[in-house]
Amino acid sequence: MLLGDRSKYLMLVGGLTFAALLMTQQCGVFIGLLSWTTSHMRNMRASIWVVDPKVEQINEIKAMRDTDVNRVRSVSAVAYAVPLYAGILQARVADGSFKPVQIIGLDATTLVGRPPRILAGRLEDLRLPNTVMIDELAVTRLSLDPKRPLRIGDSFEINDREARVIGICRTDRHFFGYPYVYTTYEQALQFAPPTRKMLSMVLAEPAAGFTAEQAARQIEGETHLKAYTEAEFSASTLRWFFRNTGIPASFGTTILLGFIVGVAIAGQTFYSFVLENLRHLGALKAMGASNALLGRMLLLQAFTVGLIGYGLGVGLTVLFGMVVMRTGQPPFLLPYQLPLATLVVILLICSLAALLGIRKIYKLEPAVVFRG
C-alpha cells in the first residue's frame, strides 16, 4: 500500500537481489569446490580406505609397503583387500608436449576402485598389456586436434611407455583438475618411476557380519595403519581443507558480506521509508489502525520485496549455474537446501528490516498527526 516510492522500491529489490545472488552463488561455488576435494572417493569407490597413519585426507599420498596389503587381508573382519596406486605422472601427447595426469592403478583381478561410469570399451581389457582407460577430460587434454579426439585404439606415452586407450569413462572432476587415467596396479608400477615403496593405499570391504566401522577399527588395531570408512574419509578430508586452507574463510567472508549488504541496504531503506511515511502511518494509527495491523502491513511489504529480490537473486544464480555447467569450468553445486537456506536468510533480513520500522510505529503517538 505504501510502497509507491519507486526509487526506494528498486533499491530494496536491488539490494535483496544482490544479497541473495551473492550468498547463493558463493555458497554454490564453495560447495562445488568442496565436492571437488573428495572426487577421488567417487571416482574409486570402496567401503574402507587403508592408508599410512599420517594421512588425514584423500588427496595426500604417503606410500606404504607392498606387504601391507597382506596385513590388511589377514584381519578377520575384512572380506577382501586390494592394492591401489594413485599418482600424478606426465603424459606425452603426440606433438611432444607433456600433460600431467592422475594415474589410478587397480588390482588386476578384481578391478576394485573402478571408474563410476564407463562410456565406451570394457574395463576388463585393462588386463591386456600397456592399456589404459581415460576419462573425458583426458580425451580433451590429450587429443591433438579437437576435431579428431582420442579414441579407443589410439595411444600416447606415459614416462616413455606406450599407453593404449581401451575405453573412455566419465569421472567427477578433481580439485587439482588433472584427468584420470585408469590402469592396473602392475601396469601403473611400470609407468611410475620406481621407488622403494609404491603402494598408495589399500581398498577393503568388511566381511559378512561386520560394519565398515567395525572392520576399520579392527584393521587399525591389528596393523597400526589408518583405516577410514567412506564417511570418515570424506569428513576428515573436508576438515583438513577447513583447517589448512584459506578457502572456507574467504568464501565465508564473501557470504557474510552478502548478508551484511542485504541487512544494511534493506534495513536502511526500509527504515527511512518508514520515517518518511511517519505522517501517513500516524494518520492510519489515528484512524484506528492497530499496531498489529500496521506491523502486518509492514511485514507483508518487506516480504513482498524480499520474495522478489530472492526470486531474482536465485534466478540469476541458476542462470550462472547453467552457463557454468555448459563450460564446466568453475566449480558449482546447487543442492536444493541452498535456495531454501537463502530464502530463510532473506526473509530473516526482511524481518529485521521491518522490525526496525515496526518498533518505530509502536512508539508512534497517534496525536502526532495534528502536529505540523
Binding site: 494518520a283 489515528a286 496525536a367
Partner: protein, 248 residues
Amino acid sequence: MANLPKTEAGHELAIHVRGVSKTFGQGEAAIHALKDVDFDARKGEMLMIVGPSGCGKTTLLSVIAGTLTFEKGEIDVFDAALQGMKQRAITEFRKRNVGFIFQQFNLIPTINLLENVSVPLLINGWTRRRAEEKAAATLAVVGLAGREKDLPTMMSGGQQQRVAIARALVHDPRLVICDEPTSALDKDTGGHIMELLREVARHPDRCVVVVTHDSRVFKYSDRMAEMEDGRVERIHESFDQYANKQGL
C-alpha cells in the same frame, strides 16, 4: 452507555467534557496545555474551537478524538466514556466513531483516491470490494465522481481536502474532527470546504468539531468555543454573538 444529559434548551449532547487537564512534561518544564476544561458539543452541529496559537486547541481536539490521553477529568463522546479507557478500547473507539480531517490533508500519495477513501473501511475490516463501492459513492457526495483512479498528487489543495472529507465520512462516524482544515487553502476554497463540512454536520447523530485560527471561516460555525491559555473561556451561541462581542 453514558447517557448524556440534555441542555436546558433540550439539545442532545454529543460531547461532554468536565474538568479535563493535560500537562506535557514535568517539573519546571511542565506545560499545562489544558486546565480544567469544561465544554459541550451538541448533536447535529458544527462547533468551532477558536483562539490564539498555542492556547491548547489541538490538544483539546486530540483528547476528544482519543488520540491523546489526559490525566484528570471526564470526557463522554456519544456513548463512550474516554477516561480510564484501555489503549486497545480507545483504538477501537477511534476506528468506529471518529473521522479525521487534517490541515495537510494527509492523503497517501502513492495510491489513488478510491483506495485512499477506502482506508477507514479496510481498517474496520471491510472487504476491498465493498469498501471501494462505498468509497466511490462517498467521493460522489463530495463532488469528485469520476476521479476515483486519480492520484492525490494530481489534485489541487481544495480537491485534496474534499478527498480527505470523503475519507473522514466513508465509515459514517458520529464524530468528525478537523484541525485547521482551511489553513492551507485560499479564502474561496476554504469557504467551500466549510460549507461542505456544515452540511456534513446536519445529521441528527453526528457532531463536527473544527479547530481553527482562520478567522475567515468563523462565520460558517454553528457555535464557537473560545479558548485562552488552556481554558474554554466563552461559548458563543452563534457567529453573530461572537462578532458583536469582538465589536466587529
